[in-house]
């Protein structure tokens, strides 16, 4: 069942008089299914943040409709169910984290006991307990990011929208946030997030949408880029001749061109026969990999295709 449906949505920004209009999102159709982790990736200016802002009702689409659980978005309908973390959240300088969370809880309809319990729990997970009474202006960028995550998750939303959640975090902070998102995933929350850190997207997402120039150009499932179901071994070899490729293909091996040679996907039961042929043909094996094509490679390949 779709939690959020974006149907043929377009949005054009008008930067001002005598300036060319910018089409940020162009005929985008996308479903976010209940309980899945959907990652939206794409180069800068692809329209990811604009899509999120349309979901939140901060901007209105020029064409198309955004549905939340089958109904068009109202002014505060989705807000009761979502937790949102913007990219680089700017919080109130003179408030403490505790006061900010109290505000968040009150506006979300939680009672003081719930606010306290949930606030302490989240601050504990994100290592902010000691800093809860400090003004937010004294926080580092990473601490502000983690505070923003507490703010987004305090009311235990069923949908979590995260715009660059790992931005500005050190490795420890990234691990904390990563674990938290994994925990949310295990709890069955619907998670929709944008990130430029493709390794995180790769590890976290069930489905990935690739956007470029305001369009959704490709959707991948985990299997599309991992291909590690079953016992497959990925071998990097020197460049193969056409004859060698034909023989290997006849042995059931998939072959992909790479910059310095070829990548072979060899199934477990064909491993020895393939290895024997590689030995016989004096093909040097340079190494092995855990995946057929990394998300980064997929990303670059599709984005390059979009360039004129």
């Amino acid at each position: 069942m779709s939690e959020i449906q974006i149907v043929n949505v377009s949005k054009t920004y008008n930067p001002g008089l005598f300036k060319k209009k910018v089409r940020a999102v162009n005929d985008l159709t996308l479903d976010v299914i209940k309980g899945e982790v959907l990652g939206l990736i794409g180069p800068n200016g692809a329209g990811k943040s604009t899509t999120i802002r349309m979901l939140l009702g901060l901007i209105r689409p020029d064409f198309g409709t955004v549905f939340f659980r089958g109904k068009p978005l109202g002014e505060t309908t989705i807000q009761r169910e979502i937790g949102y973390l913007p990219e680089n959240p700017y919080l109130y300088d003179h408030l403490t984290l505790l006061e900010l969370l109290r505000f968040c809880g009150q506006t979300s309809g939680l009672d003081p006991a719930q606010i306290k319990k949930r606030g302490q729990e989240l601050m504990g997970k994100l290592n902010l307990l000691e800093d809860q009474k400090r003004p937010l202006r004294t926080f580092s960028k990473g601490m502000l990011q983690r505070s923003g995550i507490c703010f987004a998750l305090l009311h235990d939303p069923s949908i979590v929208i995260l715009d660059e959640p790992m931005s500005g975090l050190d490795p420890i902070g990234r691990k904390m946030v990563f674990d938290l998102v994994m925990e949310l995933k295990q709890q069955g929350k619907t998670i929709f997030f944008c990130s430029h850190i493709l390794s995180d997207v790769e590890r976290l997402c069930d489905r990935i949408g690739l956007m470029a120039k305001g369009r959704l150009i490709k959707q991948f499932s985990r299997e599309d880029f991992l291909q590690n179901i079953g016992k497959t071994v990925f071998l990097q070899t020197t460049r193969l001749t056409e004859t060698q490729k034909d023989v290997l293909n006849s042995l059931g091996t998939s072959i992909r061109d790479e910059a310095e040679g070829h990548l072979l996907a060899v199934s477990g039961d064909q491993y020895f026969s393939t290895n024997e042929y590689l030995n016989k043909a004096s093909v040097q094996v340079l190494g092995c990999r855990s995946e057929w094509m990394s998300l980064e490679e997929l990303f670059m390949q599709h984005v390059k295709e979009q360039r004129p």
């Binding site: 920004y13 901060l58 505060t76 913007p86 109130y92 003179h94 505000f103 009150q106 506006t107």
Partner: protein, 271 residues
């Protein structure tokens, strides 16, 4: 209502902890101190000068509070995109406007209340030093004048919220609000002049200019109706009708302005 009060509370806290507040309070206290120091120079007008200076100090401090702190309390939300976070909670755009207004209003009221206490102490001290020169002085009229200083800043706060709702930069909000204040303070005099015999003798004042001023005078806030300095300084009685009209005018003006701000704000997009 809960959302409005929560938002008002964080806006109030954000304002009251702003460091510029200390500077403004210090400046106002200096003006009160100056009043005590120089009051003796004014011979028989000590009472009048004291009331004048105190009300002016309150007004000046109020202006600084609204323009230097109040403007930032809402406009910076939009400037720095904090509004994205706030509106991601179940707060409607109209609730945001009313919450922000109440928060800035609490902040301005609390700050002015503190300065009002200082002002009363100054007047009381000078009254104690020079009891013979405060002929006609009346505490209730002084209190009324101080209360209407607060009403004036309530209207100005609504103007700031209105301009914050339609612009996306705190500087533009500041410029528009300041212009509205300056025009609002002087509009009554301009209208009186246009209707006077002197204006009739001036051939350069066209009919269209008169009509324009007439329309503008209805749109701009007339801050002169909140000025009771003359009455407080001379101890002149104020009719209840004038009090009611001034207060009603202020309340209706604020209400209409906030309704308009809510309407515009609910149609606004936040990139």
């Amino acid at each position: 209502m809960r959302c409005i009060l929560s938002l008002a509370m964080i806006t109030f806290k954000e304002g009251i902890r702003n460091r510029s507040l200390f500077g403004i309070a210090l400046l106002a206290l200096l003006l009160f101190g100056l009043n005590i120091t120089v009051a003796g120079f004014f011979m028989r007008d000590i009472g009048k000068v004291t009331v004048d200076m105190n009300l002016s100090a309150l007004s000046f401090a109020g202006l600084l509070l609204v323009f230097f702190v109040g403007v930032n309390l809402m406009a910076k939300d939009i400037d720095r995109k904090t509004i994205h976070l706030v509106l991601s909670k179940p707060i409607s755009r109209a609730q945001y406007i009313w919450g922000k207004y109440l928060g800035i209003q609490f902040f301005v009221s609390a700050s002015l209340l503190l300065l009002f206490v200082c002002s009363c102490l100054t007047v009381w001290f000078l009254l104690y030093l020079y009891p013979n020169y405060f002929i006609g002085f009346s505490w209730p009229i002084f209190f009324v004048a101080c209360f209407f200083v607060l009403v004036k800043f309530s209207v100005l706060t609504a103007i700031v919220v209105f301009f914050s709702a339609i612009t996306s930069s705190s500087l533009i909000t500041l410029i528009f609000s300041l212009s509205a204040y300056v025009a609002g303070v002087s509009i009554e005099e301009v209208v009186f002049y246009m209707k006077s015999e002197f204006a009739a003798q001036e051939k350069i004042i066209s009919e269209s200019l008169t009509t324009f001023i007439d329309i503008v005078s209805y749109l701009l806030p007339n801050f002169a109706v909140f000025d009771f300095t003359l009455e407080a300084a001379h101890g002149l009685a104020i009719t209840s009708q004038r009090l009611f009209l001034s207060f009603g005018y202020g309340a209706i003006y604020i209400f209409i302005l906030l309704l308009l701000a809510s309407f515009i704000f609910s149609r606004r997009e936040f990139n």
